[in-house]
């Protein structure tokens, strides 16, 4: 029931409103400046320096040459790069996708409709892992898993000989630490997603005689598909960038067993002094990130 005058008035109002709002575009400026210099800048430089032989010491520290794809040729012939790539994927899949995602989901499902105090307690312990700064998580786990640490002490009650966890099972150790650190995030996201499923939907399924698993697979999971997906991407990319945790716990070792790409990049650039090569590895990290992002954005779009 909108009259012509009203529509006209609305139009004028919108115009006046936009006139006010147009000026707020300037609010964008500080963010744009910072992003341009400190975010876009390094990315552009990555593409530039990845093709040079720049180093931190030696002749090539002061005279940089373009070397074409040489860094990439080296990289793909470097067995350590292959190891590092696989290590990164293993770390991503086990600590991120399987570990954090599944444990977070499990926690959220199990905690649904439970006693409130109990929920708070369990949630609090899990959140404590997330709130603990990364570097402290690393110390905590180094001590916990140490030859004479709590875990071995506990196992010795069952007659198990002490195990050098960080050396015998280095990947398992960092994966567990990362799960401990990160699961809270998935838990929170899944909790809010589960809370948003209307009660009536589940009730209807119950009446239809669907059992617990059927309800989970056919109703719950499809309904929180979006959350699963968003969570997956956030976790994958967060895990891709993990440095502090692994570096402090194992330094990437033993024998590169936990040297994910960020660690490999650090070693080549700052320990082996090969900045150009390190930048090429940075570029690979970025490209992996870009690919994951693009897949994410594409899927989001088709979803709408």
């Amino acid at each position: 029931m909108v009259s012509v005058e009203n529509a006209e008035l609305n139009k004028q109002l919108t115009f006046a409103k936009n006139k006010i709002l147009r000026k707020t575009l300037l609010f964008l400026l500080p963010s744009l400046v910072i992003l341009l210099i400190f975010f876009i800048g390094p990315i552009i430089m990555t593409f530039f320096f990845a093709f040079t032989n720049m180093s931190l010491t030696g002749t090539t520290a002061q005279s940089i040459d373009f070397v074409g794809f040489q860094n990439f040729v080296s990289m793909f012939s470097d067995p350590n790069f292959k190891t590092s790539f696989i290590t990164t994927m293993v770390f991503l899949i086990f600590s991120g996708i399987i570990g954090q995602q599944v444990l977070g989901f499990l926690l959220a499902v199990l905690m649904k409709n439970k006693n409130k105090t109990f929920r708070k307690f369990v949630g609090g312990t899990v959140m404590a892992g997330w709130v603990t700064p990364e570097i402290i998580v690393a110390f905590t786990f180094v001590s916990f898993l140490h030859d004479g640490g709590t875990l071995n002490q506990f196992l010795s009650w069952f007659g198990v000989e002490p195990i050098s966890w960080l050396f015998t099972f280095p990947m398992v150790s960092v994966v567990v630490a990362n799960i401990w650190k990160g699961s809270a995030l998935s838990m929170l996201m899944f909790q809010s997603a589960l809370d948003n499923i209307p009660f009536s939907v589940e009730e209807a399924a119950k009446i239809d005689g669907a059992n617990r698993w059927q309800r989970m697979w056919r109703i719950t999971i499809p309904m929180i598909k979006n959350t699963i997906f968003t969570n997956l991407v956030i976790i994958t990319l967060g895990t891709l960038g993990v440095f502090t945790l692994i570096y402090t716990m194992t330094g990437g070792g033993p024998a590169n067993a936990t040297a994910t790409l960020p660690i490999f990049m650090y070693e080549q650039a700052f320990v082996n002094y090969q900045l150009g090569y390190g930048t090429a590895i940075s570029l690979v990290i970025l490209i992996i990130g870009i690919i994951i992002s693009l897949i994410y954005i594409r899927l989001l779009k088709t979803d709408d």
């Binding site: 006010i20 000026k23 707020t24 300037l26 609010f27 400026l29 500080p30 400046v33 910072i34 210099i37 180093s55 931190l56 010491t57 030696g58 002749t59 520290a61 002061q62 080296s74 012939s77 470097d78 067995p79 350590n80 030859d147 050098s164 960080l166 050396f167 330094g251 070792g253 033993p254 024998a255 590169n256 067993a257 070693e267 700052f270 320990v271 082996n272 002094y273 090969q274």
Partner: protein
């Protein structure tokens, strides 16, 4: 009122940009003002006390001069290279490990000090061998040495006696060293019969004190200076890696959890060696220094237990023994602001008094001929300068060429894969070959 918001966001914008660039200028302007009176000295933290004493002495001698100490914790060479890269962060005096000195010269980080040393009446008191380490490919001098060492074999006389081995121990080949380790393992309860460095975490120690001590005993060398090329000697490499492999796979060495501790050197001298948990260690002569009065763990009777002997060549081939020497020097960075003061500081740090103080503190070998003859030096408590001087005649140096630091990290990495059992000696040789090609290029390798 809208304007207020706009102004606010614009101001914020300008402020942020200015803060980014301008903040720096202010700081450097500030430092220019005071630079005449400030001398920035960077050094690895393990020399904290010596540098503190130098600070006091220098400030006493030069009134109005403020020595600013910049202790570096880890990744010392990397951090220092990053600092020397620009005038804002460059120290005035830098401590250079001689293995990287030449590379840092090529990078333009260091300034030549020929003018300083040529006019200096004490320069001819330095050992000629140590001057090699501070002379770059261009023939100029870029640092004043203050410390050197030799590597040999430390062995525990008590444990050897317990194992039924003869003391003094004078092994004539690698085989004899390994046999002794086996004997100790079988006949005593010692967990680490033969400690060698074997992980990336211990950096140059792994490359120099383990790999290069062994490799030099095969009679081969890493770099051919006549040809200007890196050498790949498959037999020598295989033999070297096989020794390392044997030590770790036969469980004669320390477990990886110990080897991978970057502070394992301290752990050895202050704990494992004192408590008879290890029977042999391939390490520097300075280990004894940590048992002196005034250090963390004084142990006056240490040398009754621990003997220090020459490390043999592989099969006892000429000259019978081998050793490696490292070295440290004080240098003046190219971007240093107070070069004259820096030169004064360096001269003071290596004068008779402070050099003697340094070797007494650390147990390192002196770089000065006049001190090497002094009774005070030779008769120091808990010292082994006679053995060390002996080793000096068999010693080798690391090839101070541009790519050495990168090749050395390659070596560390490969030694770790062998030590942890992830690669066989043959695979290790292959990774060394392909790694070397990657780093220096096919053209710079002689087979």
């Amino acid at each position: 009122m809208i304007r207020k918001g706009l102004v606010f966001s614009l101001v914020l914008c300008v402020f942020l940009t200015l803060a980014a660039c301008g903040g720096e200028e202010n700081e450097s302007a500030e430092s220019t003002e005071s630079e005449q009176n400030t001398l920035k000295v960077s050094y690895p933290t393990w020399w904290e006390e010596w540098f503190k004493s130098l600070e006091t002495a220098f400030e006493d001698e030069h009134e109005g001069v403020d020595v600013e100490l910049i202790p570096l914790h880890d990744d010392v060479t990397t951090k220092q290279a990053m600092m020397m890269g620009s005038p804002e962060t460059s120290p005035d005096v830098a401590v250079e490990d001689t293995f990287i000195l030449n590379s840092d010269v090529n990078a333009g980080y260091l300034s030549p000090i020929d003018d300083v040393v040529n006019d200096w009446d004490e320069w001819d008191k330095f050992e000629e061998t140590t001057l090699q380490g501070v002379t770059a490919e261009d023939g100029k001098v870029y640092g004043v040495p203050f410390s050197t060492d030799v590597q040999g074999l430390w062995y525990n006389k008590d444990l050897f006696a317990e194992a039924g081995l003869s003391v003094p121990f004078e092994p004539q080949s690698w085989e004899e060293v390994l046999q002794a380790a086996e004997a100790v393992k079988e006949n005593t309860g010692v967990t680490i019969p033969l400690f060698i460095y074997g992980a990336k975490a211990t950096g140059e120690a792994t490359s120099m004190r383990t790999f290069q001590v062994l490799y030099s005993g095969t009679g081969s060398s890493l770099y051919d200076f006549d040809e200007g090329k890196w050498v790949i000697d498959e037999q020598a490499l295989t033999d070297t890696f096989t020794f390392i492999d044997t030590v770790f796979q036969e469980e004669l060495g320390a477990p990886m959890s110990v080897v991978s501790n970057s502070q394992v050197g301290t752990l050895l001298s202050e704990d494992l060696m004192m408590n008879n948990e290890v029977s042999m260690v391939i390490d520097g002569n300075w280990v004894a220094g940590s048992w002196r009065e005034g250090r963390a763990t004084p142990w006056p009777e240490a040398l009754d237990t621990w003997g220090f002997t020459l490390f043999p060549t592989q099969n006892g081939q000429d000259p019978g023994y081998t050793s490696m020497s490292g070295g440290w020097a004080l240098s003046i960075p190219e971007h240093a602001q107070a070069k004259d003061l820096a030169a004064e500081f360096i001269k003071m740090a290596v004068n008779e008094e402070h050099q003697l103080d340094y070797v007494m503190r650390t147990g390192d070998m002196t770089v000065r001929k006049d001190i090497a003859e002094k009774e005070e030096y030779l008769e120091q408590p808990i010292s082994n300068y006679k053995e060390a001087a002996d080793m000096l005649s068999y010693t080798h140096f690391r090839p101070a060429v541009d790519d050495y630091p990168t090749v050395s990290t390659l070596i560390q990495e490969i030694v770790e894969t062998v030590a942890s059992g992830q690669a066989s000696p043959e695979e290790a040789v292959k990774s060394y070959e392909s790694g070397l090609v990657r780093i220096v290029g096919e053209d710079n390798i002689a087979k």
